[in-house]
């Protein structure tokens, strides 16, 4: 009997564990180690953050789902990986520290035959002075929508601002809280949902709503933007993004590295080297992401963390990490197997794998401050990679040496993204987009790097309907309800 241990029960890890268990049956063990007791459909946190959904609408308890599936669930966080075992034993293991199940604080060694790292991002608030509290959590000056609890808090603060805006001017700032952030899409959704709600609440005229982000141009989204066919033209997402901001009266600051946050104000540096200060009454700033800080040790106990992980804490896989200039970046730099080059029984899926480089064009201010989005690994790629890794592990367990390792590259994979711009069955809107491929391939598609037959975007009510349906569909799938395997990632 082989044991697969999956670290992380989010989008990628849950997909890996549930498919692996389905394919392996009771002949082999699947263990999920994750500190959270609930599964969270993170994209809908946006609607929690504007009070249009409750926390209970976007989370559900993992324990009964894993019990039904026959998955061994440990509510714990992984702390370290020991891929060569320890003195006296060659069996690889991880150490875990419980966060629930009545064993809080207890540590344990958990042996594995195959290990999947799907621990997602550490929300690195402390990278910007004042954005964090100094202890790894969000600071008191801004709000976030990255977790369901953050979103509940964001909504209560937002309601306070709406109340004040009935009688006085208020200023709202939304965007990224550091020069190296990703996830601009989430901030984009939040700012336009706020704008929509403000109109509904009759306080829009008293609100100044402003965007601040590290993108070199609006609509970059960490993917270097995208080009799409519209009205006989092929146009850049910059035009569409700017159009939406202007239409909704939302001013923007771009190419910005937020360098310091204080009560009611923040400092930033721009790509041209100039600096500025922006005041706010309410700010939602996405933090930069890093790996969750797992350590790795060799058999003799020596620290081999830098062998398994890149300096940003994400796990090294079969990507080409050779540093090279932007002009030499290739689609083939991106990983295909998500397998660690040194330990072939270790894989990484979702945000946890280290990308070879960013996707957007790298940029620095004259002071040397890097200001460019880091690459997004959104829900669809995370789910697809999670499933591919499950297939590879199952194949390794069943076929041993002759196993077929499943290959899928983000440079050959598309993504469907639906960015909400206001919730409402008849007055809601969302930008529905597909990008193919996620990582541009300029050799295959010279010019835009993408196939413009499959890269498109449009805004309207239909997008909102799709976003709403996806909310129910993905929660249904994650609960492993009948037919769950038929719903694509």
């Amino acid at each position: 009997m082989a044991r697969l241990v999956v670290m992380g029960g989010g989008v990628a890890g849950h997909t890996t564990a549930t498919f692996a268990k389905k394919w392996l049956g009771n002949d082999h063990e699947v263990v999920v180690v994750t500190p959270n007791s609930n599964w969270n459909w993170i994209p809908s946190n946006i609607w929690v953050g504007i009070g249009q959904m409750k926390k209970e609408d976007v989370v559900f308890p993992l324990a009964p789902v894993y019990a039904k599936a026959g998955i061994d669930y440990r509510q714990a966080k992984a702390v370290s990986i020991h891929p060569e075992g320890k003195e006296g034993s060659d069996k690889p293991f991880i150490t875990i520290e419980y966060t629930g199940q009545g064993k809080e604080g207890q540590t344990e060694e958990l042996e594995y035959d195959y290990l999947v790292n799907a621990t997602g991002p550490k929300l690195n608030f402390d990278a910007t002075p004042g954005l964090g509290d100094g202890n790894g959590q969000i600071g008191p000056h801004t709000v976030s929508v990255c977790t369901a609890d953050h979103a509940v808090h964001a909504n209560s603060e937002l309601r306070r601002i709406f109340e004040k805006a009935k009688t006085e001017k208020q200023k709202i700032l939304v965007g990224t809280g550091h020069g190296l952030c990703t996830c601009q899409g989430a901030a984009f959704e939040y700012i336009f949902n706020i704008e929509h709600e403000a109109k509904k609440a009759g306080v829009r005229d008293n609100l100044e709503i402003k965007w601040i982000s590290n993108e070199a141009f609006l609509g970059d989204f960490g993917m270097g933007g995208l080009h799409m066919k519209v009205g006989g033209y092929v146009v850049s997402s910059k035009l569409f993004a700017e159009s939406l901001y202007a239409e909704r009266g939302v001013d923007w600051i771009i190419g910005a590295h937020v360098s310091k946050v204080e009560e009611g104000k923040l400092d930033y540096e721009l790509l041209d080297g100039t600096t500025g200060t922006e005041e706010f009454d309410f700010a939602m700033l996405i933090p930069p992401f890093a790996g969750v800080g797992l350590k790795a040790y060799a058999k003799d106990g020596s620290d081999i963390t830098d062998k398994l992980f890149a300096p940003n804490g994400f796990m090294k896989v079969d990507a080409d990490y050779t540093p090279k200039p932007y002009e030499e970046w290739k689609a083939s730099d991106w990983p295909r197997k998500y397998q660690n080059p040194d330990y072939s029984n270790i894989f990484a899926a979702g945000i946890a794998f280290a990308p070879p480089h960013i996707i957007s064009k790298p940029a620095k201010s004259p002071n040397g401050t890097p200001i460019n989005p880091t690459p997004p690994r959104t829900g669809m790629p995370s789910g697809i990679i999670g499933k591919a890794v499950a297939e590879s592990v199952c194949s390794l367990i069943k076929d041993g040496e002759n196993a077929h390792i499943h290959e899928i590259s983000m440079a050959e994979m598309g993504a469907a993204c639906v960015a909400s711009a206001g919730k409402g069955i008849f007055d809601g809107q969302a930008a529905a987009m597909t990008v193919y491929p996620v990582v541009p391939d300029f050799e295959k598609y010279p010019g835009t790097g993408r196939d413009t037959d499959y890269t498109f975007g449009e805004i309207g009510l239909a997008g909102h309907w799709i976003k709403h349906i996806l909310h129910y569909l993905f929660i249904y799938k994650a609960k492993l309800k009948p037919g769950w395997t038929l719903i694509p990632e």
């Binding site: 035009l239 700017e242 901001y245 001013d251 923007w252 598309g414 009510l461 799709i466």
Partner: protein
């Protein structure tokens, strides 16, 4: 005065963009048109999803 044109004057950045007119904005929430777009977008997304698996 056309409502959609007011924002062009709000700042220099807005002035250099394209802002949808009344008809384009109407289509965005016109249930009949959006139902058609719903079907079209779904088909396009299914193709991209199929190409990615």
């Amino acid at each position: 005065m056309k409502v959609e044109e007011v924002n062009f004057g709000k700042n220099d950045k807005f002035n250099l963009t394209m802002i949808p007119g009344k008809f384009a904005r109407f289509l965005r929430t016109c249930v009949l048109w959006q139902f058609i777009r719903f079907i079209v977008i779904n088909i396009k997304m299914i193709i991209v999803v199929a190409k990615s698996h």
